[in-house]
Subunit: 431 residues, 2 copies
């Protein structure tokens, strides 16, 4: 598809005042050419197709900055348990049995769910990442992929070698739709020496690092006992924070930790539903944002959430902060920024997350012609406090339509659901 | 429709172990005749219609135990403000301008949204309640209706007279679909003398009382200053808790308050999203449940939520408790009980909230043939942690289908959306 004109309400996410109640977006190949009032696209643009969505809000595709996509395989397999028994008796034994193919199918299921709920980019940390890359290339979404590295595990070295190989093979694949990062799991599962080697490799190959940091109080205690420091201090001292780093969670931070993250330009992936469900705590989101830290939103894996719905995540982000810090905290538009432009920036994607000329045509439309969207007083408030996954009608990535009229176009979803059901149940029954 | 057989996965909400992966429900007129395995309905039942939903979970319709339905008129009109400025500068001035007709249309919009998201019964507190009753009768849902009474307002006496008239005219209307309660707003907006008169009238007419109690710390301070007691102690001393009482919120309770609510069999309507969004606090839900208090779930009005989606409310109820009290708190099945059978009991509805023979045929089906419901490890976890409003396919109340294949059958929703948009915008523009 070369030239497309979309007419809709347009929320470009370029600033709180920017909104076109009757707008249009001109797209040529993978890029946005023009955004403005309906009818104001230069006459020189002759669209091959016009998509009229007068009752839809078109906005940038949502950016999920922290997930483990293939964990859809474990969705609702174990819930309502304390963190360590949950991991040790349920999640890890199940994960040990996942094959490359299981991870491929689990990821495709996740991508189907993500597209249906308006997510166009994910930062994914898991194993068998070449199979994840294959799924992302097929689905047509954007993916920043990190091989999860448990330095202290027997396969730590092998995983690091896989991560290096992943950079060589997939960084920039799919016309740039795939980017690779290194994925050292956490300061309590990787030694200082291992983390420094990861950092060297990342610098050498020119890619970033994705790591879990300060998720639980237990972690703070462990690292303090081991190194006499907070996880953030420890990682900073190791030199891990020199380049592009996305730190997931960052729930338990001292004032000094927050300053370090700001000074080092570490980006934070905030996962409110996982943090609430696992009783991890409330991340200092406004406190980080006020220091200039880029904070994106993530769903975490479907085993601790239990869906990949960024609309639910936006709502929960706002509610969790308001509950603990006051009703005026984190207003709707700021939450939308986290889920779009700030998320894109935090992943190092410079031409994604806003609807402006020259940017990639990664966008979604939300069907506002439904009872829960009336009256239409505030589009940002409706998107954060009202909308749900099922409201997404259209999804485009790189100028390609991945969903139209709520129908997935790149994934044979019936088959994927069937495969995942069969494979997940077989693993569960093997115990 | 006299005799209907529904074949589906059936979650009757009669106990955590009760589930039919291939089940069926036989319905005659407004009642359930039989629930069991597929094919086990007695041969004497000859259905006039068979509804096959093999990929849907059928469960009792959801019970919204606290809302102000017509406040859909104010949806996303004002957000992210502190409570009192929000009420004083935005909500109350707007509400002052609502006509009977505005309230009728706003309620119809709410009912459309409720049906679409699987709610079959609401407890509604507002004004112009005969117009609300008319909307409920047209929509076909079940409604427990209370005239909101601000005893201290100039129209306090008039409102009380309207509530009495409402009992006379509508209690038991629509073949019992409508029940009436008295709706004294709160201990800080009604004098002790007014509350006692309301109680006398409720007793005289044999109906219950719905009231806001202990929603915010401000309220606790006000009542303590005025009466030297907590709101719960004060209401108990006034004798308000003798009969059927549904107390909304109950966020800030002393140990003694909790004991009083249990001893007096006061039912509690818990509104997690409103409590989070307005920074009211975290209600002691497991603490009340462990004392035997019936706790239902409510959405509160759409101006502080901003939708009427009970699936979101279930999820938020679990997440809020887990965040503050641990990951094992309030497991999925308990949340489902709150949203169905406990909610029904708390409203005094004895034959609603479970799928068992002899009960009213109030049920919904959720379309599980979607990516976010695979793999199917746990139906309760899927319903609480995964499902969203858009997943509801079928809604039945009193044996009548109010929605089939996601299409509303009793409400002309296009017209309702148009009316609400026009009316709400006209009020907003009048300031």
């Amino acid at each position: 598809m070369a030239k497309i004109l979309i007419r809709a309400m347009v929320l470009p996410m370029t600033g709180p005042e920017d909104f076109y109640p009757e707008g249009e977006i001109a797209i040529e190949n993978d890029r946005i050419l023009f955004v403005g009032e309906k009818g104001s696209t230069p006459d020189s643009f002759v669209p091959e197709r016009i998509i009229d969505l007068p009752d839809d809000v078109v906005m940038p595709g949502l950016i999920n900055t922290h997930t483990h996509a293939a964990m859809t395989m474990l969705r609702s397999y174990a819930d309502d348990l304390p963190l360590m028994p949950w991991l040790q008796t349920k999640i890890w034994p199940f994960e040990d049995k996942l094959s490359d193919e299981d991870i491929y199918w689990g990821t495709l299921l996740a991508l189907g769910e993500m597209i249906q709920s308006g997510t166009t980019t994910m930062l994914d940390m898991y194993a068998s990442m070449s199979h994840v890359a294959k799924a992302v290339l097929e689905a047509g979404t954007r993916g920043v992929l990190a091989r999860g590295l448990i330095g202290n595990a027997p396969n730590g070295e092998k995983a690091l070698a896989e991560n290096i190989e992943l950079v060589r093979e997939y960084h920039g694949a799919g016309k740039g739709r795939i980017q690779i990062m290194f994925g050292p799991h956490a300061p309590y599962t990787c030694s200082g020496e291992f983390l420094q080697r990861v950092k060297q490799e990342a610098d050498r190959l020119g890619v970033g690092i994705h790591i879990h940091v300060a998720e639980t109080e237990d972690e703070i205690g462990t690292i303090k006992e081991q190194y006499g420091k907070t996880p953030v201090q420890w990682l900073d001292e190791l030199g891990l924070f020199g380049g592009h780093v996305v730190a997931a969670h960052c729930v338990h931070l001292t004032e000094e930790d927050r300053d370090i993250l700001a000074q080092r330009k570490v980006c934070v992936a905030h996962n409110p539903e996982s943090n609430m469900k696992l009783n991890s705590g409330t991340a200092p989101v406004p406190e980080l944002r006020s220091r200039g830290v880029l904070v994106g939103l993530g769903t975490d894996g479907a085993s601790s959430n239990n869906n990949l719905d960024m609309f639910g995540e936006m709502r929960s982000a706002a509610l969790q902060q308001k509950l603990t810090k006051g009703a005026t905290t984190l207003p709707a538009y700021e939450v939308l920024q986290m889920a779009t432009v700030d998320g894109a920036r935090s992943l190092g994607l410079k031409d994604v997350g806003m609807l402006v000329p020259g940017y990639k045509a990664d966008l979604i439309s939300i069907d506002f012609d439904q009872p829960h969207f009336y009256p239409r007083f505030s589009v940002p408030a409706h998107l954060v406090y009202v909308a749900h996954a099922g409201d997404v009608r259209t999804v485009m990535v790189d100028g390609e339509l991945l969903m139209e009229e709520r129908q997935l176009k790149t994934i044979d979803i019936k088959r994927v659901c069937h495969e995942v059901e069969k494979r997940a149940k077989a693993i569960a029954e093997s115990f």
